[in-house]
């Protein structure tokens, strides 16, 4: 239990997926203009990521390892993620049309969201167990949503600011992300290893 809490805190705050592993930057730069769509995107990613990491663990541990098929690891992981995204997309389309409209193009893009494949790969290199993998995927998603929402809030405020034309758009977002990364470094003393 203690280990799971440690994984949660360190993945959400200290080694945040976006700010210290640079995973999921594309949606971070693209979608994070409105708080509602940031929240929707964050929830979709958290959901897919917890499931994908758990399923990838089971496949890795019980199929790939015993049969010595590690070379297929990447192909298998990406197929798991792609099929999961398809399922989530159909689910959201059926039950919440407004959410589907607002996420639009970004839903299929979750497939190529490196955060999800990244969490499956980190799960393998860090030799997590099943429960740890699911918690790791879930907290990665929570950390991603947290930063996405903070960023959306900042960008809403920045819309009224007078900024030099060359910094408009992506450059400013990147610099704000850099400052956020500096701020999040302050959390690194939270857990003494």
């Amino acid at each position: 239990m203690e280990k799971l809490i440690l994984i949660f805190i360190s993945t959400v705050l200290i080694n945040n997926f976006v700010l210290s592993y640079f995973l999921g930057i594309c949606p971070f730069l693209g979608v994070s203009g409105k708080i509602e769509s940031a929240l929707g995107m964050g929830m979709a990613v958290t959901f897919v990521m917890s499931l994908a990491t758990g399923i990838s663990y089971l496949i890795y541990e019980y199929i790939l390892l015993p049969w010595n098929l590690m070379i297929l690891q990447y192909v298998v992981f990406i197929l798991v993620i792609a099929s999961l995204v398809q399922v989530v997309e159909m689910f959201i389309k059926k039950y919440s049309n407004s959410l589907y409209q607002s996420l639009g193009i970004y839903l299929p893009l979750i497939t190529t969201n490196c955060a999800i494949l990244g969490s499956a790969l980190f799960m393998v290199t860090r030799k997590y167990g099943f429960l740890e993998s699911v918690v790791f995927g879930f907290s990665g998603g929570v950390g991603f949503s947290l930063v996405l929402i903070i960023m959306a809030g900042i960008r809403q405020e920045l819309e009224d600011a007078d900024i030099p034309s060359v910094f408009k758009g992506a450059p400013l977002t990147l610099i704000v992300a850099g400052l956020l990364a500096l701020i999040f470094m302050g959390f690194s003393g939270l857990i003494s290893s």
């Binding site: 700010l19 640079f22 192909v75 497939t111 190529t112 400052l179």
Partner: protein, 195 residues
């Protein structure tokens, strides 16, 4: 033909103009050498994925094309990863999980979907080569700037005098965002001057 090759090098530069493939761009550019190796790995995967996609575009059903492209890309990434691990273990160690993450690099899927699946083989290869080399020089520049400020050297060759106090933040994640933001702004400025 020439235009298709050149556009990736400047006008539609994948890193500075389209902001694609951000994850490896930011993560591995702690040094010029890492940036260069990642760039070349992407050139290889992009070249061969575009080749295969351009060859089989007629026989892939429209609904499953993304899944098919992704599997093609994953296959070539596995080849690069296995090769690097055997031949250059140190670089493979430094790139870590970011090498397999080339699979979900939006540049590669983006070029396959937006270009190779609609154009002939030769043009697609030129497009892939241009985009890949554009990506490589982008990563090399970003890696050089970060290495220069963060350690005082470029490609491990010492440039600053021994008394230089390195800005360690530059090789930490925060530095990656700051330097890329400033470089993109610089590119915008150059475009403004030109017009």
């Amino acid at each position: 033909m020439k235009k298709e090759f050149l556009k990736g090098l400047w006008n539609q530069h994948p890193v500075f103009r389209q902001l694609l493939g951000m994850c490896p761009t930011l993560a591995v550019t702690t040094s010029a050498k890492n940036g260069l190796s990642m760039g070349l790995a992407v050139v290889f995967v992009l070249f061969f994925s575009s080749l295969v996609v351009a060859l089989i575009k007629q026989i892939v059903p429209h609904q499953v094309r993304i899944a098919v492209y992704t599997v093609i890309i994953a296959t070539f990434v596995t080849i690069v990863d296995t090769f690097m691990r055997a031949q250059f273990p140190a670089i493979s160690q430094a790139l870590g999980p970011y090498l397999p993450l080339i699979i979900v690099n939006c540049i590669i899927l983006g070029r396959c979907e937006a270009f190779a699946s609609k154009n002939g083989v030769a043009v697609s290869l030129l497009d892939a080569l241009g985009m890949g080399l554009g990506f490589t020089w982008g990563l090399f520049v970003l890696g050089s700037v970060r290495e220069f400020f963060g350690t005082g050297s470029i490609l491990s060759i010492r440039i600053m005098p021994a008394g230089y106090d390195p800005l360690v933040a530059m090789i930490l994640p925060a530095g990656a965002f700051l330097v890329l933001g400033l470089l993109v702004a610089l590119m915008n400025r150059i475009e403004e001057w030109k017009s």
